[in-house]
């Protein structure tokens, strides 16, 4: 394991432990906010693995939130199992759904894949509306006494978010991840070098979907109810895209920043003026995609590094050539780390667009 990978894992572990340690001391309002932020983070990060690292832009996160939520809720409502087992069932059902959907979906690429996932999400919502056993359009209420609350729910959400971050760290620092980004950047070349495109895409799709399903189960526990207009709502898909792209798709901390800005910054603070908040969301998306397409976090990193570089004390002899960093300063894998190409900008040249 490289030193950077080790540091990432250690940081993740430290944050998780501190979250557990903090949880008994936080008040209920903050715990609830934390659960919401953590579930959005898990979904956004899983989406990031699919879209940012492996190039499969999905609009179907809602399908897996629904699957995870409904399966956990139904298991809890119709049997006496614990909520932890409910989570396991959610992950299993999401994995199965991902495997089934992979058959039509993995034949599609790019925009077709995106629209295909959108159609699946909507079809599942419409189907749930008709599923009378699961409550139909009205949905179901979970048994209030067996659902985790307060600090328990927060710790559960922290674990799920940690799993999502862990998957992202793994994808970023492993050979598997390297091959995934190779497929993302130039599928034909990667295939030519012997990378099995189908298997890698599948291997990215299934774990990401499982994590989204787990997040869906946490949402179901938090909402104490499932319904087609709740956990199967398209807004889960759209929020995942929004938060990951605003924060920085293809980078590790991008979704973290994205969730913070979009949910905490926009949605929470502008609760009183919904129209304004929607205008701001849309405008923010447009501005970011136009002027900082890599996302806010990588953009900020780039700007801060540029500022650091131009500090007189930081320069070494021969440093100040033309204002940009000389070769000696350039980190060997800077391109992959702090300046991720989201979904590759090479695509215009290479693909048959």
């Amino acid at each position: 394991m490289t030193r950077r990978a080790l540091v990432s894992w250690l940081a993740l572990g430290a944050v998780l432990i501190s979250a557990f340690a903090q949880s008994p001391h936080m008040n209920l309002g903050d715990l609830d906010l934390g659960v919401t932020l953590l579930t959005y983070l898990a979904i956004a990060q899983a989406w990031n693995v699919l879209a940012g690292f492996s190039g499969q832009v999905s609009l179907g996160s809602a399908a897996f939130v629904a699957t995870g939520g409904y399966s956990a809720a139904l298991v809890l409502a119709h049997s006496q199992v614990s909520y932890v087992l409910g989570l396991a069932v959610a992950a299993a059902c999401s994995a199965v759904l991902a495997l089934i959907l992979a058959v039509p979906l993995l034949r599609l690429r790019g925009d077709y894949f995106a629209v295909g996932t959108l159609a699946i999400a909507i079809a599942i919502q419409a189907a749930l509306n008709n599923w009378v056993w699961a409550g139909g359009a009205g949905g179901l209420i979970l048994p209030v006494d067996r659902v985790p609350m307060g600090p328990d729910l927060f710790r559960l959400a922290a674990v799920v978010a940690a799993l999502a971050m862990g998957l992202a760290v793994f994808v970023k620092h492993s050979g598997f991840g390297l091959r995934l980004t190779a497929i993302r950047d130039n599928e034909q070349a990667a295939a030519g070098l012997g990378v099995s495109v189908y298997r890698h895409r599948l291997a990215a799709l299934v774990p990401a979907s499982m994590i989204i399903g787990l997040a869906g189960a946490v949402v179901a526990y938090q909402f104490v109810a499932i319904s087609p207009s709740g956990v199967a709502n398209l807004s889960w898909s759209l929020n995942a895209v929004l938060m990951a792209i605003v924060g920085g798709a293809g980078s590790l901390l991008g979704p973290v920043v994205g969730v913070g800005i979009v949910y905490y910054g926009l949605t929470r603070q502008l609760e009183d003026t919904q129209t304004l908040s929607q205008v701001l969301e849309g405008t923010l998306l447009i501005i970011i995609v136009r002027f900082a397409p890599e996302g806010i976090w990588p953009f900020a990193c780039r700007m801060s590094r540029r500022a650091w570089h131009s500090r007189p004390s930081a320069s070494r002899p021969g440093d100040r050539t033309g204002g940009s960093s000389s070769n000696r300063d350039k980190d060997p894998d800077q391109g992959r780390d702090q300046d991720p190409d989201t979904v590759s900008s090479d695509s215009v040249v290479v693909s048959t667009r």
């Binding site: 190039g55 599609l108 849309g282 998306l285 397409p293 215009v348």
Partner: protein, 287 residues
Amino acid sequence: MSMDVLAAGILAGGLYALVGLGISLVFGVLKLMNLAHGELVMAGAYIASLFVVNAGWDPLVALPFAMAAVAVIAYPLQRILLTPLLRGSATAPLVGTFGISLVGQAIFQAVFGSHPKNLPASYATEGISVGGMRVQTVYVISFVLTIVLCLVTHFVLTHTRAGGAVRAAAADPTTAAILGLNVNRIYAFTMAGAAALAAAGGVMTGVAQSFTPTSGLPLLLTGFAVMALAGIGSVGGVFAAGVALGVIQSLSVSTFGGGWRDVVVYVLFLVVLAVRPQGLFRRAAPA
């Protein structure tokens, strides 16, 4: 299933085809999946409502004005905002148009309010008896309108120089640019044309049904379904696909009941995408 229901399905399909034509045009030429197309349709309805409700015009008279107005809005939108996005990553245009759709909905809400509106017209509630079947006049009108607009689009694309330029830019933008065509301008004109088509659909929707700021999304998805069924490159194909979709919907509603109306459409959409993404489309799937 009665003939009335079948006829209604065919006619409703005309409206679907109109929405799908705009989406198909933009995707075929610009390779852009415009997630804001539903809002362009609504823009047509809302702008027409300014003429119809406030000034008392007939919706069909307001139609060309609404089409022109939306086209005028779409041209700079494409030129300034969307064309640069096309050169970027694959997600950028998708996300950019999604952002535009959010802003559009918010603007409609702020300016027009969220109550359902409709465009009153005498033919909105009239019916015609055709060979034992009773059909709604307004849908017959929109069907005819769709045919007219499809023919006009087809003619422009195949028999005019501008159409030739559009097809060249669609086939190979790089070579077209080398040969001296202003590809950016072509893209913007195509988007304006598609927006005009969308606005026409919006006006007819406003007369036949009603509309709210959030009515754009279901129309967008129907449009995508039509595009997937039809493929790129043939206006007639889009028309046929729209009508087919309308018929399938009517069939599924009378067979399975109303609740399954949408599921059938999306499942069909997926099946087509999965089974014949290459066969139906002119270009190979890798985008």
